[in-house]
Amino acid sequence: MEKNLDEQRGIREYLLGILDEPARIQIEQRLLVDGKFAGEISIAEDELIEQYLDDELSDEERGHFTSHFLAAPERKQDLRLTRYLYKYAAAQEQAAPEAAPAPGWRRFFTLPAFSYALIFLVVMGLGYGVWRIAFSRTGDVDIALIMLAYKGDRPFQSRIGGSGYTRFSEVRGEPPEAQSAERRRARRLVEKVVADDRTAQSLHALGKVNFLEKDLPAAILNFEEAARLGPVTAGLMSDLGAAQREAAEKGAGAEKGEMLAAALRSLDRAIELDPKLPDPRFNRALCLEAMNSIEQAKTAWREYLDLDPNSEWSDEARRHLQTLENK
């Protein structure tokens, strides 16, 4: 959208303090009530500071800039911030010159299709032995290897422990046949372990498989039984809360409310057991959103970002927080 030039000129003169009083009052009154206009003024402030530092202001403008625009300490801070950003950007450029793009054949290795193919080849190449490694003689389950079969899949908004980041999408296609085969194999083996040795860990693993295959009632039963058998872990309660929250989303009315309340209890328990585990905090914020507890959800997202400020999960958390703050 093209900016209105007259409006832009008026904003610039306002910032430099050279607008006549009626026009200034008009701008201020609009600034008070019009959020979009307030944003335009912020952009114009940043531009003016950059032009000052780049020596692009006329002598007259420079005079107004230093005498009027910089009168408030906040504006001086903004000026320093811009200087620091220029300095930082220059330092980054010196420290790490841009890497040359990979030759064409190397880029093949970054294609998603290649990633799936590689997983398939590695897993199939190792054969049955891979899944046998996943299960020790005592029936313990290596969750990481089970999750490998479900890499790239995220059937729900809530996150399940052990899964890497994948952007959630309502619309999903079927996984490639190779991956479906690996998933069927993972399920058979987990079920066998549970049959041989019904422990909290094996049931937790089965619950994850059911969750990833969107069988929420089965997942919840597995997680609840695992919790009864014990020991109860933060990861288990977080996964239970995730499944409960997703199951609630399919419900309605009082039933939905009760299920969300149950999910919240599970997630609070997970956080109590391990305050530094990110998964339950992420899921808790989602749960509070589903309960329409907007202010609590915002607090929960901020708490999550304090714990995990810099990851793809935190990018998603920021999007949620932004959506809530814009309401």
């Binding site: 600034l31 009530v33 780049d54 408030a72 903004d78 620091y84 930082y88 980054q92 400020p309 810099n310």
Partner: protein, 187 residues
């Protein structure tokens, strides 16, 4: 300055006047206060926060007598009170000793750099999401000349309009400012 004490009842009445829903009212309160700060900054006031608070306090005390008869959006009422507060502040500045004015007058050469501030900026930049970090660094890396063309190219690279790029960098700066305030306070 307001001498009367603002009671909880006064404050509740103000919030109710802004919006019957308390949460929405609180958001409107913060929005109005924030915009008043910007207006006072735009008028060159170096006590913008205090003046905004004074404005909010005076309106709070006036609400019982105006809310029945007042029609329309409450925000413009705040503007009228802010104007009076500003005029009083200007009169006070004129009476102040010359040395006070000189202490706050803008220097011809902008503020010198502060090591603590720069270190805090570095810390705050490092906790930005990687894509935003990359964007802000690229934005400020551009050559001083031909900046408009550079920003247009950068916007295309990120799949944004030029306006959207500026809005995004503006928001990144706002979050960096907040982060730096916390960092400097902790330092």
């Amino acid at each position: 300055m307001t001498e009367k004490v603002i009671t909880t009842e006064n404050f509740d009445m103000l919030l109710n006047w802004l919006d019957p829903d308390r949460e929405s009212a609180a958001q409107k309160y913060e929005k109005i206060r924030g915009r008043l700060v910007r207006i006072f900054i735009g008028r060159g006031c170096y006590e913008a926060d205090d003046l905004a608070d004074e404005t909010m306090n005076r309106v709070t005390l006036k609400v019982p007598s105006i809310r029945e008869s007042y029609i329309g959006d409450p925000a413009p009422y705040f503007f009228g009170v802010a104007d009076k507060v500003h005029l009083e502040w200007l009169r006070k500045q004129k009476k102040a000793r010359p040395v006070e004015l000189a202490d706050n007058s803008p220097s011809v050469d902008p503020e010198p750099e502060d090591d603590t501030e720069y270190e805090c900026l570095e810390k705050c930049l490092k906790v930005l999401p990687s894509r935003l970090h990359e964007l802000i660094v690229e934005y400020y890396r551009g050559e001083k000349r031909a900046k408009i063309e550079y920003h247009r190219t950068l916007a295309e690279k990120w799949g944004l309009s030029t306006n959207a790029l500026q809005t995004k960098t503006c928001r990144i700066r706002a979050s960096l400012r907040k982060c730096m305030v916390d960092c400097i306070a902790a330092a």
